[in-house]
Amino acid sequence: MELILESLFNSVAIGSVLLVAALGLAIVFGLMGVINLAHGELMMVGAYSTYVTQLIFKLPILKPFYDIYVLIAIIIAFIVSGTVGILLERTVIRRLYGSPLETLLATWGVSLILQQFVRSVPLAYATGCVITIFISLLFSTVIPQNLLQGNRRKLIKTGALGTSAAAGVLTASALASLVSKLSRASSRNVDVTAPPWMRGGVDVLGMTFPKTRLLIIVITIISVVAVSIFLNKSVWGVRIRAVTQNRDMSECLGISTESVDVITFGIGSGLAGVAGVAVSLLGSVGPNVGGNYIVGCFMVVVLGGVGNLLGTVIASFSIGLMTDLIGAGRLLTIWPNMPQPLASTVDFFSTTSMARVMIFALIVGFLQYRPAGLFPQKGRMVES
């Protein structure tokens, strides 16, 4: 009983990290068909914004609220990564729709730029940049179109840009002077520490459940539920799905496909930011943090079936289960008197490196039989 419970918890814990990381990609890659190799770096941006939030909450004025900074960091990470994602969509990806190879190369380039950016730009100024972009994006949606006519157009646009730049510069200099750690560029990995109440474990039935793992599971569940409600119930969700199924027809019916692209990509990127918070609680935050997850994310999305949320969920939990069964040598504990040759094989694969090899081999094998994953997409897009 205890064994099954422990195994189950481990599988869910491993699977939920994979799922939260892959969720954004499932939207960007699955629904939009954009191969975004910078997805990992958007996670990194989320992880760094958690770090910045943590430092801000250590300031004397916000000290009383330090205990809940992680929860606020989730929202901030969503906004920050979403902003960076929208900028990326507006500047690079929009020009490359329909040419997957170019998108792949361009986003890979962007991932390198982002990695080097956090290495060589002090985080205070990086925060300033994000705030400038965020406010100017906000202005461009908030200012009504009828104001933007004639001579006023230029004036208002310059004013908006100036305001957002000023806000960015102010935040950057304020942060740099208040928090000395943010005022210098560093390629060193930084550390996100959970507030004291979130450290340690909960003891149930003689077993220890790490609290950070529990929190990540909760974050994952909330994200999945929110995304599925958004996609299935909201107006924008319906539009997104419509554009996914048939872009030209949706446009004919009056859906602004451009806005749909921006929103879809923004949400996908924002979810990457949420994943960044989760990942920062488990390990350290550094320029390479995203690169470690990107392969796993694509693996989950491909295994689950491109464009299928349920597939992504099932794929990540089955990879989690396999990692635990193979990697922790669970099979030997379940079935102690296994015949000798089989037992030694299982034992051989029960190290972390070999378990990875085994899982990859199983996935490759599976995709030979079901090339489109667990839940293949049905509909017009497949035929075209």
Partner: protein, 426 residues
């Protein structure tokens, strides 16, 4: 207008000044008869840059100190030391290529460089074929002894072996079984092979061994296996790499693998620099083994730490690899002065037997091109330092060929005797 011109003028002055210091890297207060240019070759970009740049800082500091005290005196002439810094870019073939450039084009008499074993293995053939000389400052797995490399870091018998013995005999986990966890590459695997043999000969048991692929931070399966293999606590020997340590220590603490529950981690690659990155709250009560620790309470050690902080910033720390890098610059200076020339072969002969009062205590160059060094075991404290629990009575002699590993047992290295050389039977 004038303001901007002034700004521009001051900016360009700063730029020129910094360019000059970057190239010359020395002060001009003393008069020198001549100058000598040495090579510094570490990664300034890529994944290893974080660690290796601290060595460049330390080597620059050592060179500046030497220049301030009159430079190198050879044959009655004083030489100012200048340096050329090359970037190995965390890419092993680049290390070999830049070595060739430093030797052939810049004609440096010596190169200080390297961190990973992979970079050293890539550079070794270059130095052997050109008969040049590389000084390598990192604690490593040994099983190598080149006539053209001079190793100032610890060999396993100067770090991991005393540490294993301490854990088995005198730590709170004494007599309990061992678990070995490392990153999946050459150093952890070689080091753990030695540890396994040693634990066997001590009468202990290694119950679990696992390697995390580089870049992987999912340690949940490892944690459940450690708990199953060591139900009543024990020693965990940790040879994980860089940021994998952060994931490991964060997650084992959450899972209850802590000193208060009887689990003690002995790490071979966590020094003061890494403690401050990982966070002392995750490491408190665990152990480390080094030759130099910042908390050594001697005037030499304090002066080293103080000078480094003064030169590079008060928040910086010094650790064992930096101390080795510092020592090697001074040892080279002493050898050149003893030989009376910069010529490779004469310096190599002069090197053996040279003693230097290092921050860790006296070190001596041995015939196998390694250093005799003092070994210290420390417990990590909440302020990010080591509390030194024990140290050897004096310097421990280095063993280039390991005496626990069956394939190298009974062998040694001696470059002062041409008949013995790289590997001879004791």
């Amino acid at each position: 207008m004038t303001l901007s011109r002034k700004l521009f003028a001051s900016l360009s002055t700063v730029a020129i000044a910094s360019t000059i210091t970057a190239c010359g890297g020395s002060d001009s207060s003393t008069n020198f008869d001549d100058s000598v240019t040495v090579g510094i070759l570490h990664s300034l970009s890529g994944t290893m840059a974080i660690s290796e740049s601290t060595l460049v800082d330390t080597e620059k500091m050592a060179i500046e100190e030497i220049n301030k005290s009159g430079g190198v005196t050879v044959d009655g002439k004083s030489y100012q030391i200048k340096y050329i810094v090359e970037d190995g870019a965390s890419d092993w073939p680049t290390f070999a290529e830049k070595s060739k450039k430093l030797i052939d084009q810049d004609k440096v008499p010596v190169v200080f460089g390297g961190w990973t074993s992979a970079s050293r293995k890539a550079m070794l053939p270059v130095y052997e074929s050109k008969d040049a000389f590389l000084y390598y400052p990192i604690q490593y797995e040994a099983q190598e002894c080149s006539n053209n490399i001079f190793y100032t870091g610890a060999t396993p018998n100067q770090q991991s072996e005393p540490a294993t013995e301490f854990m088995y005999k005198r730590s709170p986990a004494a007599g309990k079984p061992f678990a070995l966890v490392g990153s999946d590459y050459v150093f952890p695997r070689t080091s753990n092979t030695i540890t396994k043999e040693q634990v066997k000969s001590l009468g202990g048991k290694v119950v679990y061994e696992d390697y995390l692929p580089l870049g992987n931070t999912e340690v949940a399966p490892i944690i459940s296996k450690i708990k199953r293999a060591l139900p009543d606590g024990g020693t965990i020997i940790n040879t994980l790499n860089g940021d994998q340590n952060v994931a490991f220590f964060k997650q084992i603490q959450d899972a209850g693998i802590t000193p208060s529950n009887g689990y003690y981690v002995m790490s071979y690659s966590i020094a003061e620099e890494e403690i401050s990155t990982i966070g002392p709250e995750f490491l408190e009560g665990h152990y480390g083994a080094w030759n130099y620790m910042m908390s050594i309470d001697t005037p030499a050690s304090k002066k080293f730490a103080k000078n480094f902080k003064k030169r590079w910033g008060s928040d910086r720390v010094v650790a064992d690899p930096q101390e080795s890098a510092y020592n090697m610059v001074y040892l080279w200076k002493k050898a050149v002065e003893k030989a009376g020339t910069f010529e490779d072969n004469a310096v190599r002969k002069a090197l053996v037997g040279i003693t230097f009062d290092a921050p860790q205590g006296p070190v001596t160059v041995m015939p196998n091109h390694h250093l005799s060094q003092t070994v210290r075991i420390g417990e990590i404290t909440s302020d990010g330092n080591f509390k030194i629990l024990e140290e050897t009575d004096g310097p421990v002699l280095p063993q280039a060929w390991n005496q626990f590993e069956p394939s190298s047992k009974g062998y040694a290295c001696d470059w002062t005797n041409p008949r013995k050389g790289e590997r001879y039977k004791l």
